[in-house]
Symmetry: C2
Subunit: 202 residues, 2 copies
Amino acid sequence: MENLTAEEVALLRATFEPLTHSVRDLVDATIRTEVDADVVAEAKAAIDGATARLRTRQLDGAFGVRFGADGDQMPWGNAVIGMRNPTAPPLVIHKDSTGAVSTDFHLGAAYEGPPGHVHGGVAALILDHVLGEAASSAERPRLTGTITLRYLRTTRLGSLHAEARIDRTEGVKTFAVGHLSDDEGVTVQAEGVFIQPRWARG
Amino acid sequence: MENLTAEEVALLRATFEPLTHSVRDLVDATIRTEVDADVVAEAKAAIDGATARLRTRQLDGAFGVRFGADGDQMPWGNAVIGMRNPTAPPLVIHKDSTGAVSTDFHLGAAYEGPPGHVHGGVAALILDHVLGEAASSAERPRLTGTITLRYLRTTRLGSLHAEARIDRTEGVKTFAVGHLSDDEGVTVQAEGVFIQPRWARG
């Protein structure tokens, strides 16, 4: 939980963001490849070599959250927004002056459920995170209490949009609403109750 | 949508399952590595080489579903159970004689939300899939209509269990319930309505 300077953070990002991007690309290639078994074996050997190199020095467990000098959170291992997590799309979420959040992103082969379409659970993963961001602030993190997802139709893979906002707050409970959409409109609606964990109550 | 023989399916599995496993391991190493920038650059070069090899022949889009000779579905690109998808844990789901389903699996660094714990959205992803499997059969696939998740507490990363069963069916709507648990008990409860898509109605 070191307090990294802005320069140290920039250096870490410059080192690890290209690696993560490459692994994300490899994940897509792994799902879609149709090469012969001997080429697969060559690729596998190169990958195992890279993994062994990376594991010569590593964290004991998961990434967790590190902090910059200004207290900025760096949740780089996060499954949805983690800059260092190749399984994250990753989402880049914008918060406007009203506190509403929105994000435009792309989901490819790794996020498939019904053929050519986004797995319903991936839509839930995205919306849980986006509603949680709308419900939270740096000073007041909030975790999901309950969330309900309503699927209007299947969401095709490709360029997508998600947004959320706070509907109301009652004590430690914040009610947030939002949706996922593709270029033909809203595909999944969500509403949730987000709760300030005990450790974060002032 | 070829009808592959059992032998062809076994050969494809023997070729691609070890590759997917290696990429899954690389994803974990990518998140947790603390090696210096020069080692990261070497690993990245090896990974980019492997990706280029795999992309010399590939599917145009996502994986979709292929079929074995007996009509068995092979949803190998699926985000939760896909044998060829490195972002899938992957879940192996068992269905008992009553139609109830259960699965034991491991979630590591790639599935993190709160430090050391499963992302709430990942719990939603898993439960959406597990309830959907309980609600469906090979002849009657059902997609999520609505699902509600109730988070009792955070779920630690590690060995986990999920299960689901049908509560009742009313026409095209099937109501399923289930939960996620770690070794200290249930962490997330789910209930959902699953609907037979028009194209699958007899």
